[in-house]
Symmetry: C2
Subunit: 427 residues, 2 copies
C-alpha cells in the first residue's frame, strides 16, 4: 500500500481538526482509498496544543527545516494563516518538492502566482480547497465538475461570522454590537473581528473563486468591498417589512461588458434560496451556460468541516501522481485585456430623512428622475412628534453611478439626507 507521510504546520482549529481526522481515520482511508496516510511531523510552538492532541514526542518538529528535510514527509499541510511564516514555509516545502495543502485564503489569494510557479518548477502539488467555504467542495466543483461551462455569474454567502451576526440581528432584532459580542462568545468571531466584518475574508475567497470561474486572475484589489459594521437594525427591520432579508453577499459576474466582483451587504427576496441560509451556514450559487443554476450549501467554517476539505485534498493528492494547476496562464495579475466593471447594475434600497413638508416627495422623485433612476416603491413612515419623516425607497435596477450621483445631490440639498443605501438583488 502506498504510504504518504504528512506534516502539519500549525495546530489551530483547522490544523488540529486535520490531525484528529488523519489519526482517527487512518484505517478507514487504507480500506477505502488504498493509501496509508501517516502523520510524520507536526510544527506547532504552543506546547499546550501539542499536549491536547497527544502528539508523540518523536513527531514534534522544532523548525521548518526539520520538516522539509524529513525524508518521511511527502506532503505538508499549512494551517498557520497569514502571509509571513506561512508563505515562507509553503515556499520552502514546494522548493523541496513536497506537495502542499493549505487552508490559507489570504496566502493563496495574494500569492497564487508565486506559489504555483514554485510548485510547477519542483513538480509538487498545490491544493487549496479548504481556503474557500469550509467543507463545501466549491473549488473541486469549479476545477473538475463544471469546467464545460462558461460561467456567467456566481453569488454566495461565503463568510460564516458575518452570516451569523446578520442572522442574529434579523431573528432577534439586536444591534450589530450585541450580535458581534454573541458571535465572539460562541467562538464564531475573533477578538479582533476586522477580517470578517469588514469583508476581507469574503473578498479573498471571492478573488480565488472568481479567478477559477472566469479563467483569469481576479486580483483582490479589484473586489469592491464593504463590510457589515454600519448595518442598522432599523434597515434590517424595514427591509423585512418589504419582504427582504439582509445578507453579506459575494457577487461575481462576467458579461460582454467585463467582470464585476463585489462583497457588500445586500437585500435578497425572502423566497430566494440564499435568504434561508442562516447562522454559520454558507452557500454558493453559480450559473453556467449549460448546467444552468447550481447551488452548493454547507458549513463554511469550523474545525471539522474545514478539515474535511483539507483531508479530501490530501487524499486527492495522494491518489494522483500528476498535479494539475490552475488551468489558465495569467495568474500573476489581471490580464491587461480583462475589463472590470465598476458601474455595475443593481436595484437599491434607500432610507432618507426628510423635512415633513409639502412637495418634498416630488422634489426627491425629480432628483431620481434626472439620474434616470426608476422607483419601484416609496414608503413614508412618520416619526411621532417630529418635524422630520423617514422615507424608504426601493428602485428598479439601475446603475451604481447613477445612485451615487443622486445620493450626493440629495445630501447636498436641503430636501433630504440619505441615511443608508443597500443594494437589492433582483431575481
Amino acid at each position: 500500500m502506498k504510504k504518504v507521510g504528512i506534516a502539519i504546520l500549525g495546530l489551530g482549529v483547522v490544523g488540529g481538526g486535520t490531525y484528529r481526522i488523519l489519526v482517527g481515520h487512518r484505517d478507514f482511508y487504507a480500506e477505502t482509498q488504498g493509501i496509508d496516510l501517516s502523520v510524520e511531523s507536526v510544527l506547532e510552538p504552543e506546547a499546550a496544543k501539542l499536549a491536547a492532541l497527544e502528539v508523540p514526542e518523536s513527531k514534534i518538529a522544532l523548525n521548518i527545516a526539520e520538516v522539509v528535510c524529513n525524508p518521511d514527509v511527502n506532503l505538508i499541510v499549512e494551517c498557520i494563516g497569514g502571509t509571513t511564516a506561512a508563505k515562507e514555509y509553503v515556499l520552502a516545502a514546494l522548493y523541496a518538492g513536497k506537495t502542499v495543502v493549505t487552508s490559507n485564503k489570504e496566502l493563496y489569494c495574494k500569492f497564487s502566482h508565486e506559489l504555483e510557479r514554485a510548485a510547477k518548477r519542483h513538480n509538487a502539488g498545490l491544493y487549496y480547497e479548504a481556503s474557500c467555504v469550509g467543507g463545501v467542495p466549491i473549488i473541486r466543483t469549479l476545477l473538475d465538475g463544471v469546467q464545460a461551462n462558461k460561467i456567467s455569474s456566481m453569488m454566495g454567502i461565503i463568510n460564516g461570522t458575518t452570516n451569523y451576526i446578520l442572522s442574529k440581528m434579523t431573528e432577534e432584532g439586536v444591534s450589530y454590537r450585541e450580535a458581534l459580542r454573541s458571535a465572539q462568545e460562541l467562538g464564531f468571531a475573533e477578538a479582533n473581528p476586522e477580517a470578517d466584518v469588514e469583508g476581507f475574508d469574503a473578498a479573498y475567497k471571492l478573488s480565488i473563486l472568481a479567478s477559477l470561474a472566469f479563467h483569469t486572475k481576479i486580483p483582490f484589489t479589484k473586489v469592491l468591498r464593504e463590510g457589515i459594521t454600519e448595518v442598522s437594525e432599523e434597515d434590517i427591520e424595514r427591509g423585512r417589512a418589504l419582504g427582504y432579508t439582509l445578507k453579506l453577499l459575494a457577487i461575481a459576474k462576467q458579461s460582454s461588458h467585463g467582470i464585476e466582483v463585489r462583497v457588500h451587504p445586500a437585500f435578497v427576496k425572502r423566497e430566494h434560496p440564499l435568504a434561508s441560509v442562516s447562522g454559520n451556514n454558507n452557500a454558493v450559487f453559480l450559473t453556467g451556460d449549460s448546467v444552468g443554476e447550481l447551488m452548493l450549501y454547507g458549513k463554511g467554517a469550523g474545525e471539522l468541516p474545514t478539515a474535511s476539505a483539507v483531508v479530501s485534498d490530501i487524499i486527492y493528492a495522494a491518489t494522483h501522481t500528476e498535479h494539475k494547476y490552475s488551468p489558465f496562464k495569467n495568474m500573476a495579475a489581471a490580464d491587461k485585456t480583462t475589463v472590470f466593471v465598476s458601474d455595475f447594475r443593481s436595484a437599491y434600497y434607500m432610507r432618507l430623512t426628510v423635512s415633513d413638508k409639502t412637495g418634498v416627495l416630488s422634489k426627491i422623485a425629480a432628483v431620481f428622475g434626472r439620474n434616470h433612476i426608476s422607483i419601484l416603491e416609496m414608503i413614508q413612515a412618520e416619526k411621532a412628534g417630529s418635524e422630520e419623516a423617514t422615507i424608504v425607497i426601493v428602485t428598479h435596477e439601475t446603475h451604481e453611478a447613477a445612485v451615487r450621483s443622486a445620493v450626493a445631490k440629495l445630501n447636498a440639498s436641503d430636501i433630504a439626507s440619505v441615511e443608508s443605501v443597500i443594494r437589492v438583488v433582483c431575481g
Copy 2:
C-alpha cells in the same frame, strides 16, 4: 496543444447536447483548458438527427468497428441508453483502450464491475458523472470532494420527471394521470413513463451513488423501490394540511445496523430544504462525519445540464493521463459481510376509512399500541352523508415491520381499512 479525438455514440437529447457544446466551445476549451477537443466520429442511425446538427459526412461512422478502429478517436461518449448495444459498444471501446464517458445509469449500475475490469485491463478511463443527477457534480463530489468523510446518510430528489409530476399535483391539485399527461406534453416524461414513475431511474442512480458513498457495491436489487403511480391528490392535500410536502425520495443510510437503500414517495416537512425543490430540479443532501450536512442542488436532467456533466468528464479525462477507478474492491456484488437493513425506521402517515361508530378510535389505537407504534397525531374527518369516516394518523418514528403488521391487522379486522401508507421523513 494536446488534441483529443472524440466519438459520440447516439445523438439523442444528451448526445446531441454534447455534440453542440463540443463544437461550439472548442476554442473556449483550447483557451481555458489548454486542450483541443475535436469530434472525430459520430455513430447515429437516424439521418434526421445527423442532419439537424449538420454533422459533416466525413465524421459519420457506419458501425462501432469504424469508431473503435479510428486512430484519431481517443475517447468515446456513450449516449445510447439501455444495456444491449450500449454495453457491447462500451466494452468494444474499452478493449481498444479508448476512454469511455457515459450518461447511462442503467448500464453503469448493472455492469460497473465488468466495465471497470475492462477499463483497468486496457488502461482506459471510465467516467459516468452524467449518469446521476444531470449537471449536478455529485459523483465528482463523492469521489474527490468529501472522500475524507464517513458518510452516514444521503437523501435526495434525483428524478426530474416524478418531481415535476408531484409538484404539479401539489401546486394545482390535479390527479396523477393529469400531471403525467402534462409532463409528457412538455417532454419531461417518456411515452412509456415506467422507468421514471415506477422509481427504476431513481433506484439505478441511488445504487451508483450509495456504492460510492459507502465504499461497497450496493446492488440495484437491494434497493426497496416504490413508484408514484398510486399517489392520490387526497393524500397530497391531507399531508399539506399537516405541513408536509410529498416527494419521491431516494434514501441511503449506513449505521452500525447495516445499510438501507430505498426509493419511495415520502412526506417531508414544509421547512425542509428538499420540500422547496420543485419542478424538474434535483437535490442531494448528504451527511458526513466531518463535513456535516452538505447539499447540492441543480438541474437533474435535460439536454444541456446532462451534457455539461458529459463534457466536464471529457475535460477531466483529457487533462489527466492516469485513470482513477472506483476506490473499493467489491464492485461485483455486495460484499458477503455487508448487512442490508430491511426493517428500517421511519415515521408514517396513514389514511384509514372507518365505520363511524363509538369506540373505533380506541380499537385502532389498541392495534398500534400492541405493535409498539406511538401516535403523533390522529385526525378524524367526517364524510358528509355517510356511515364512514376518514381518519388520518401520523406516527412517531417506528419500525417498518411494525407498521406492516399493524396495517395487516387493521385490514383483516372489521374496524378499519387502510387506504394509504406514506413514510414521513423526520428531521
